[in-house]
């Protein structure tokens, strides 16, 4: 597959908190060199601010490289924690996989 047209998917499950921060960082660092990244948290029921900080760091790095990032959630707790952290506009968050993929497909390489 052409890496410039490919999609990297990072999928995690369960409750993500400070005790799994390094696991998350490792999973994100292993995302390939595709054009866009889908962080699939649809099977994650809880995140805390250490996870939000790690996602923000990854998104900033991806932004710098012109790689769009979408976050797929299955629990509204994830949307609320991002909102309470004041970062609702920092992430493209979707609760529908199709819409997340449509978003990523519609973003142009920079």
């Amino acid at each position: 597959m052409d890496p410039q047209s490919s999609l990297d998917v990072v999928r995690l499950v369960g409750e993500l908190d400070v005790s799994r921060r390094s696991e998350l960082a490792t999973a994100l660092s292993q995302a390939g060199g595709g054009r866009a990244v889908l962080i699939d948290l649809s099977a994650v029921s809880y995140i805390d601010s250490t996870v939000v900080a790690e996602l923000l760091r990854f998104r900033n790095e991806a932004d710098a490289n012109g790689r769009p990032v979408a976050v797929l959630i299955g629990s509204q707790q994830l949307a609320r924690v991002i909102e309470y952290a004041g970062l609702a506009h920092a992430f493209a968050v979707f609760d529908d996989r199709g819409r997340a993929l449509t978003f990523l497909a519609g973003t142009s390489p920079t």
Binding site: E15, D17, V18, S19, Y46, D48, S49, T50, V52, A53, Q76, Q77, R80, V81, E83, Y84, A85, G86, L87
Partner: protein
């Protein structure tokens, strides 16, 4: 909600299961008090941030320590939660490293205070709302 209910937990900060175990115990306590989602989830979220703060540096340094939670209700539908970490050796970074966490706590709790004398105590006060009306079947 009834007045005077209380929950006390004391856990080892080096145990990686500590944050989740405390969240689960608090969630069960709130369920018993008939506090429903999303408020219940939000309170657990805020307290989870305080717990994360207490254990975060312990993971990095592997120093021994404990984190204590004390939750107490009153008759005015108020929940008071203290998260207390006695480990004075733990380097604190409340203003920057945990800035996001405190922002989340402040978005949910009615009042928050932090005392770093001899450890760190994060005190959170939550409104728990009116009790659900009794129903008969």
């Amino acid at each position: 909600m009834t007045g005077g209910s209380e929950l006390r937990i004391n856990r080892d900060t080096r145990d990686r299961g500590t944050p989740k175990a405390i969240r689960q115990a608090l969630g069960a306590f709130l369920t018993a008090l008939r506090i429903e989602p999303p408020l219940r989830e939000d309170i657990v979220m805020a307290v989870g941030e305080a717990i994360a703060n207490a254990v975060e540096h312990a993971y990095d340094t592997d120093d021994p320590g404990t984190v204590e939670l004390h939750a107490l209700t009153d008759a005015q539908n108020t929940l008071l939660v203290d998260v207390y970490d006695r480990g004075a050796f733990i380097e604190r970074d409340l203003r920057e490293g945990r800035g996001l966490g405190l922002r989340i706590v402040r978005a949910i709790a009615r009042a928050v205070s932090i005392d770093t004398e001899g450890g760190t105590r994060i005190r959170m006060v939550f409104d728990t709302g009116a009790p659900p009306e009794q129903t008969t079947i």
